[in-house]
């Protein structure tokens, strides 16, 4: 048995420490060529530790270590059902992507920057996953934000169109639909910060009202009751601002699309097990301990879960529809991720009405999605390398040269969309059941939204396969040789889907969740939905582009003009406010105060001090004796009064 604290220390710190050498050696090309292996090794240690935590059954439970005494702020880690799996998922995916990155990032102009932030990203997510203390979680949360900014804007020189998002010279109204990597990094960090601040306030509010910040120990029910309906809703809205911005739910999803300006490895990590998954995962974790299905009489909670349910479902639909019109490899995948994350939120929120089972559905869908989506991203990266184009393209001839990529794409797409009897089908069946159960409260709206989303989703992933390997135009450039480690990366990644399939089909899992999945998979409704998805997938495969819908497609591909929110409305509002602050705040108050009053006072005092100092002794004597006399007279007067 290893001591628990050593396990945690290795888990969180090795990725960071192992990437410090390359960060320091940034000037030496010789070293930066070799040191990435050390960084990957660091992540591998995290994989081992997370597996250790999962496989040693006695490891479950809470571990607390002192940090700031008497404040409720401590290093508290929780190993429970969700975290033990999520930890392995995070570490494993990061590790596979890191292997892939050894090839993919070869010859990059700043490997030190990349590896340091990549490993920091992984470590931050692990911290978010395992920490039970909300404050500690927030530390990891901010680490994610910082690392995502560093990685999305990695190619900060903005000098290569391959790293851009959007089409050059295309404009919609006043808005250029073309985003540079540095813009992408900025859009990410600004959106996330917009949500982090309210989230921080929410944590502060919980801190003020609850004796502990540990998610598993907070008395959620009495907290909500003491806040009342309005208080609970406000608290959650603040908290959800953080989760929704991080997870790119409508209307905060724009940053995710332009996050595709980062290296593909980053997109893969961002979309599967970190960052966007972080928001959904924290919501899962909170729901796990709040147990909203037992708190129906608590005022305000139902409103909160209704909001999450519909934000999730709408994000799901929006993402799928946007993806249907997209022609860029990675941005299409980004839109589909947003859609999937929306479904995770929706399923988890449904637990308020359906119960614990819905949380399992949300979580296992996240697991399947993580590996499948990471595989697809890695393939997309390889394709971009091979064709020097970020747009969908490549026919059968090309597919023959890229057989592993082709096969992995087939597996990842079919296993993810939910066609029977492949992996995602079982968890999607669970989701069908959950949404159907909501008909008492919301009619057929939830299930209808889910089915429509699923069908379009199947279509767009089929389109990804079709346009890249079957029906796309022949690429102008083809560099299909090499890339051995890249292939290793995505083959390993996609193979995990078979492991999960095995779990779903042949084991029972905690609380017989997998048996329940299998049961739901055999229900008529699920089968009908599953077959429809299969049909949608085939349609997408055969007709990846339908010219009759091209105008609608362009509208969807422009993300329904949502970029206006980020790049126009927010921008103009921001500039308006900053102008007011500048004109009236800075120049009026600040400028006057800082450039006139303070220096004026300093000048006067300084002049006063120096004017005495003329070097003349008799003058000094006069001053000091005068002062002493005045002081003594005052002292005697006061002494007389006090006496």
């Amino acid at each position: 048995m290893i001591d628990e604290w050593i396990v945690f220390l290795l888990l969180f710190l090795t990725p960071v420490i192992s990437s410090v050498p390359i960060a320091l050696a940034y000037k030496s090309k010789e070293w930066t060529d070799k040191l990435p292996y050390l960084s990957v090794l660091g992540i591998f240690v995290s994989v081992l530790m997370s597996l250790y935590i999962l496989l040693v059954p006695t490891f479950q439970g809470q571990y607390a270590y002192a940090w700031i005494p008497n404040t409720g702020i401590e290093f508290v880690f929780m190993v429970d059902y969700l975290t033990q799996y999520m930890g392995v998922i995070t570490a494993l995916i990061a590790f596979f992507i890191a292997i892939y990155g050894l090839d993919y990032m070869k010859g990059d102009y700043r490997p030190s920057w990349y590896w340091f932030f990549f490993n920091l990203f992984t470590a931050s997510m692990l911290l978010v996953v395992y920490s039970d203390n909300l404050f500690l979680l927030f530390v990891g949360w901010e680490g994610l934000g910082a690392a995502s900014w560093g990685l999305i804007g990695h190619w900060f020189r903005d000098d290569d169109d391959i790293a851009y998002v959007g089409q050059k010279d295309r404009k919609v109204g006043p808005l250029p639909m073309h985003w540079a990597p540095s813009t992408g990094g900025w859009r990410a960090i600004s959106t996330i910060r917009f949500g982090d601040v309210p989230m921080f306030l929410a944590i502060a509010a919980i801190w003020a009202l609850s004796p502990t910040l540990n998610i598993s120990e907070i008395e959620w029910e009495s907290l909500f009751v003491s806040l009342g309906a309005a208080g609970t809703i406000i608290l959650f809205l603040c908290l959800l601002m953080g989760l929704f911005t991080k997870s790119a739910q409508v209307p905060f999803c724009e940053w995710l699309m332009t996050a595709m300006t980062g290296p593909t490895t980053v997109s893969a990590l961002l979309h599967s097990a970190t960052m966007v998954a972080a928001g959904a995962f924290v919501f899962l974790k909170l729901t796990w301990y709040i147990q909203p299905w037992t708190l129906h009489e608590v005022p305000g909670l139902e409103v909160v879960y209704t909001i999450v349910l519909f934000v999730g479902l709408l994000s799901g639909l929006y993402g799928a529809l946007s993806g249907s019109g997209m022609l860029e490899r990675k941005v299409l995948l980004a839109a589909s991720t947003m859609s999937s994350i929306g479904l995770m939120f929706a399923a988890t929120a449904a637990s308020f009405w359906v119960g614990h089972f819905a949380v399992f559905v949300g979580f296992w869908y996240m697991a399947v999605h993580a590996f499948a989506k990471a595989s697809l991203f890695l393939v997309a990266g390889h394709l971009i390398h091979a064709t020097h184009s970020r747009f969908l393209g490549g026919g059968r001839e090309f597919a023959k040269k890229m057989t592993p990529a082709f096969v992995v794409t087939i597996i990842a797409t079919t296993f993810l969309v939910g066609m029977p009897p492949l992996t995602a089908y079982w968890v999607k069946s669970g989701m069908d059941f959950v949404m159907e159960e909501l008909h008492h409260d919301f009619g057929i709206l939830p299930i209808a939204l889910l089915v429509i989303t699923s069908l379009i989703y199947a279509g767009i992933l089929a389109k990804f396969l079709s346009l890249n390997f079957l029906k796309g135009e022949k690429p102008e450039h083809e560099h299909t040789e090499g890339g051995g480690l890249m292939k290793v990366g995505y083959v390993l990644m996609v193979s995990v889907l078979f492991v999960i399939s095995y779990l779903f089909l042949f084991t029972s899992g905690e609380a017989h969740v997998f048996e329940e999945f299998r049961h739901e998979g055999k229900v008529m409704v699920s089968m009908v939905v599953g077959v429809s998805i299969l049909v949608a997938y085939i349609v997408g495969l055969v007709m990846p582009r339908i010219s009759a819908f091209s105008k609608l497609g362009t509208f969807f591909g422009d993300r329904m003009y949502l970029p206006f929110l980020n790049d126009f409305i927010m921008l103009k509002t921001g500039f308006f406010i900053s102008r007011i602050v500048q004109d009236y705040g800075n120049r009026g108050i600040d400028g006057f105060f800082n450039t006139r009053i303070i220096p004026g006072i300093f000048g006067l005092v300084s002049e006063g001090i120096r004017s005495i100092q003329n070097g003349n002794l008799s003058r000094y004597i006069n001053v000091v004796l005068g002062l002493v006399m005045i002081i003594l007279i005052i002292a005697v007067t006061i002494g007389g009064v006090l006496q």
Partner: protein, 419 residues
């Protein structure tokens, strides 16, 4: 046995000091080694009698030895005797915590003050008489006020009178202020600091500052009564004025010696604010820790900076470290000094003074950095650089000051006089 050993050993040290000074007229090095021997004997005497004093005496010995060595940098006309003067100041400073007798305490005040009258005039090839006159005039005024204040306060212990107490308190504090250079009674400081030789100045600005504060604390604690709470405001206001005057003066000065002069005014303000903590005797040990750390940090910093001025620059990282200590960056001694003073002021519920002190620390940042930039040059293996290395080592000793704080907790019990 021990009670008798200490006076005898100190007497021996004084005899050695006297004879070595006298014979140094003929054999110059004798004064230097005699002074070192006397200081070490004094250290042994005081520390053996009261082992709890070891940290205090240790710092004093190191500072006085550096002072002695730094005198080697100039060829004064009284070379030999000047070592004896520093030795005498060091002996008195070592001894000060070991007596609770009013007469001894007042004698100590004069003994530590008088040698500086001569030191201030020391310069190469002659005497700096003009500076001497300026300095001595103020010192005499300070001494008179201080001694009278002390005696009046002592008198009130036998026949209490509120009027007399307040008069005595104010005279003592005003005397102390003139002696160490607290604004607005600091007029001599900028002139003397800039026109005297930097090396003797480094002694006056370091070693000579410790004893007056300790004596003032001893007398004020022993004579405290319900009126102290009201009159303490006077000291607090004085401290605040001194902080602002010192820091703004330094911020708007160009000449390094003048900046150091105003920095002394500011630092004396910080240390004077410890006097207000007398109203909360149970937290006095915080103030004592802060005051002594601040005095030692100030001593180390002044020695380093004045040596740098004399040498027209020393190794750049050294002066920067000294500047950081003055600014109050952890874990340097200047930080801990300020921190403990601030804690003691918080405990004494003088929050406005805390705010002023923090604000002043911020004001001081630019000029210390400017000083470091102007006085920093490349490394050279010579005496001034080694002196600065020693000064920097001092400010690093308390990087974790727990041990010092614990020792001061014990020492704080003895800060009093028997009346």
């Amino acid at each position: 046995m021990i009670t008798l050993t200490m006076p005898l050993m100190l007497l021996g040290a004084l005899v050695i000091l006297t004879f070595s000074s006298v014979f140094s007229v003929k054999y110059r090095d004798l004064g230097f080694f005699g002074a070192i021997a006397a200081i070490l004997i004094g250290f042994a005497a005081v520390t053996l009698a009261n082992p709890a004093l070891i940290y205090y005496t240790g710092f004093v010995v190191i500072i006085s030895l550096i002072n002695l060595v730094s005198l080697k940098m100039i060829k004064s006309v009284i070379e030999g005797v000047d070592y004896g003067l520093v030795g005498l100041m060091a002996l008195v400073t070592l001894f000060i915590f070991s007596t609770q007798d009013l007469a001894m305490v007042l004698a100590a005040f004069v003994l530590v003050s008088a040698p500086t009258y001569i030191l201030v005039m020391v310069r190469e090839g002659g005497a700096n008489v003009e500076v001497g006159i300026k300095y001595i005039t103020f010192m005499v005024l300070a001494t008179v006020l201080f001694l009278m204040g002390a005696l009046i306060l002592a008198y009130t212990q036998n026949a209490f009178s509120g009027l007399l107490y307040i008069l005595g308190y104010v005279m003592l504090v005003v005397g102390l202020s003139i002696e160490v250079g607290v604004a607005p009674l600091h007029e001599w400081v900028p002139d003397v600091f800039t026109s005297a030789d930097p090396i003797p100045m480094s002694i006056i600005a370091s070693l000579a500052k410790i004893v007056p504060f300790v004596i003032a604390l001893k007398i004020l604690i022993s004579t405290a009564n319900p009126l102290t709470v009201s009159i303490t405001l006077f000291t607090a206001v004085l401290a605040a004025i001194s902080m602002f005057t010192g820091n703004i003066g330094a911020l708007t000065s160009k000449e390094p010696a003048r900046i150091l002069a105003y920095s002394t005014v500011a630092n004396m303000g910080y240390i004077l604010s410890c006097v207000v903590v007398i109203v909360k005797p149970e937290f006095f040990y915080f103030a004592l820790t802060g005051a002594l750390l601040m005095l030692f940090a100030n001593a180390a910093g002044k020695i380093g900076f004045f040596t740098a001025i004399k040498n027209e620059g020393v190794y750049s990282p050294l002066v920067y470290l000294l500047a950081f200590s003055f600014i109050g960056l952890p874990p340097l001694m200047g930080f801990w000094g300020k921190l403990f003073i601030l804690i003691s002021l918080v405990k004494a519920e003088y929050i406005w003074l805390v705010a002023i002190m923090v604000l002043n620390s911020a004001i001081s940042v630019p000029y210390y950095l400017r000083l470091a930039r102007e006085l920093g040059v490349g490394w050279k293996a010579d005496l001034p650089n080694y002196i600065c290395v020693a000064a920097v080592l001092i400010i690093f000793v308390t990087f974790w000051p727990d041990w010092f704080f614990k020792a001061m907790e014990v020492l704080a019990q003895t800060v009093s006089i028997v009346l």
